[in-house]
Amino acid sequence: MLSKSQARAFFFVGTGLCALAFVGLTVDTFGKIPAQTGQAQLTEQVIRGKDLWDHNNCMGCHTLLGEGAYYAPELTKVIDRRGPVFVAAMLRDPQAMYPGQRKMQQYNFNEAEIGDLVAFLSWIGKVDTNGFPAKPPLAQGNVGPAANRPVVFQQLCTACHSLGGVGGNVGPALDGVGKKFDAAYIGKWLEDPAAVKPGTKMPKLPLTADQIHELTTFLGSQGK
């Protein structure tokens, strides 16, 4: 039967070997992190963004690289998903972008700070995370019509609207909206929703004339 001194030897040898291997792997990992994370793109602005991220404890509601809290969306790929314009608008006034929804902290950032945070989130979006977050394997949107939607629609509008069953539920679903409204009305609506319908919860979004044209053409054809 095992004696106490054998048990002690098992403990010390096992622990020693594993600790040694762990330190070795750590050294190797630190050699590889600069290339894998794009250390070279860590500009002053990105670093300022990270400081803002830390000092405001965004991780107390959000996850980043899958770490943090489970109260608000995962943000590693938020720039890919929503685009910098939406993210900046979100940081300017969170309540306007998601009216009546779960609340994000209103930080009253200035434009420079918003730029820093967007730069930080763009940087983190390019880190090679070994495939996280994975593409949802059972999503309907992965095949078919989603492919030929305007980018601006996928980034800005799907946060609040769904189309073909995919997207947010802040605003009404946009299926068949082309039957409901004509292109001119949709164009006016997008320029300034509150001008068309005072007190509406849809915010005025930072859209260029080209984007509005693209969107009215696209939406005008829905349901036709």
Partner: protein, 451 residues
């Protein structure tokens, strides 16, 4: 209890009770926010509640470990504590630092790094405080009449816990590096050196409560902590899958962390086997229930539920979802909260001279809190799995999924209420037991039978 200075432990335990109660209040604030009632958003937004909830948890567990050490070490070493005044000072400083940190959180003063939110200047105070504690028990062991395996395992667990706090303070501009070091604290604590502390305290309790021979208990203690480190050190890799570190962590972390439940299973079998073997019937059955309950619930929460999401194929979809919160609650409860509850339940009659451990309230506290925690874990599990399926596998929007699972947070609130009732009963027993008196004469010093 034989030594005057062991009395200090009571003050640490009283601190535990206070901070624990406060932790639960913040838990409810978050649960209501998840359920759609965030009326406190303007005063205590979610991130403030969360940082407070988790930091109070870590703080009261540390206070509990310190109290346990101040109780156990004099008894194991057969001498008074080296510097009782330092222990008191050190408790005062710990509480002051903690309270400052918690108040700071409410004014946006923190570092946004989960579990390590305490602002940097206060980090240094924590380190100094813990070093004073380590020096105190270290000198007591050094000058003591005997050096037991139990006291050494406990001491090294505490020392390593203090040292491993330091990597968390390394400054960096790279989020990946930041996260890499953060896990040296968080993972290597709960799945490494804290298990030494757990092993040490459980061994002490089993020696006292079951009367099984010390040699036998300590031999198996080595085997179990041996398994802990064999799997737990390289098991850190299960946090390095998807944060911008090399791909080899997928199999290193996957393989070694999959072995981690073995150590927890070992701990459970060991506690049950020793309790069965012991011929001694110690009068404090509640303390034995908490001790064995600790080993069993830690296997369920850490071992079983940890394993459930530790393989990289699974973790790809569960990473950073409510599934993690499910595991976090049961694991912290089983392994560390119940451990502190066990040592308090054991030592309280010996500190205060009033034995209420066999009262109905003490038994009620044990069962109600555990059933409440199991129900909480189920509520988190249903919410978490639904989130994984709808958001991660089917690609629905985050907020749409959250409103879908809101109802499970009402379930959580119900379960948490049951849990809280159990904790209040425990607190009632604690308060009713009164203040500590001098050394209490109890037949509790040496094992009566040898196995």
């Amino acid at each position: 209890m034989k030594y005057q200075s062991q009395k200090i432990a009571w003050w640490f335990f009283a601190t535990c009770m206070l901070l624990f109660t406060l932790q639960l209040v913040y838990g409810f604030i978050m649960a209501f926010a998840h359920a759609g009632m965030d009326g406190l958003h303007a005063y205590i937004p979610f991130h403030v509640a969360r940082a407070t909830h988790t930091n109070l948890l870590v703080m009261w567990l540390l206070a509990g470990f310190m109290g346990a050490a101040y109780y156990i070490i004099p008894e194991e070493c057969e001498r008074e504590l080296m510097w009782p005044w330092l222990a008191k000072l050190q408790l005062g400083a710990l509480v002051a630092t903690g309270v400052t940190a918690i108040i700071g959180f409410h004014f946006n003063w923190w570092e946004g790094r989960k579990f390590l939110e305490i602002p940097r200047p206060l980090d240094f105070l924590v380190v100094i405080d813990v070093l004073a504690f380590i020096a105190n028990i270290g000198m007591t062991i050094w000058k003591g009449r005997r050096m037991t395996t139990t006291s050494m395992v406990l001491f090294f667990g505490l020392l390593m816990a203090a040292l491993l706090y330091l990597p968390g303070m390394i400054p960096t501009d790279n989020q990946t590096v930041d996260s890499y070091w953060r896990w040296w604290v968080v993972h290597l604590w709960v799945e490494g050196v804290w298990e030494l502390i757990m092993g040490g305290i459980l061994a002490f309790l089993l020696i006292k409560l079951t009367g099984v021979d010390r040699e036998l208990i300590e031999k198996w203690l080595y085997v179990i902590v041996g398994f802990t480190f064999l799997s737990g050190i390289l098991g850190t890799g299960h946090h390095y899958y998807y944060i911008g570190t090399p791909r080899y962590w997928l199999w290193v972390g996957g393989l070694f962390s999959a072995l981690e439940p073995v150590a927890f299973l070992g701990m459970a079998i060991y506690a049950i086997a020793m309790a069965k073997r012991g011929g001694r019937h110690h009068s404090n059955r509640t303390a034995l229930a908490w001790s064995i309950g600790c080993s069993v619930m830690s296997f369920v929460g850490a071992g079983f539920l940890g394993f459930a999401h530790t393989l990289p194929q699974v973790n790809m979809y569960t990473h950073g979802t409510l599934v993690t919160a499910m595991h976090g609650h049961m694991a912290f409860w089983g392994a560390y909260a119940m451990l502190v509850m066990a040592i308090i339940a054991y030592s309280l009659p010996l500190l205060t001279g009033r034995d209420l451990q066999n009262s109905a309230a003490a038994t009620f506290a044990f069962w109600t809190s555990n059933i409440g925690m199991i129900a909480m874990t189920l509520a988190f599990a249903v919410a978490g799995i639904t989130q994984v399926v709808l958001e991660r596998r089917m690609g629905l929007e985050f907020l749409a999924v959250q409103s879908e699972i809101e109802v499970h947070f009402w379930g959580l609130i119900l379960a948490a209420t049951l849990f809280t009732v159990g904790i209040l009963a425990y607190l009632w027993v604690f308060i009713r037991s009164g203040l500590p008196v001098g050394p209490v004469d109890a037949d509790d010093s040496a094992p009566a039978t040898v196995a």
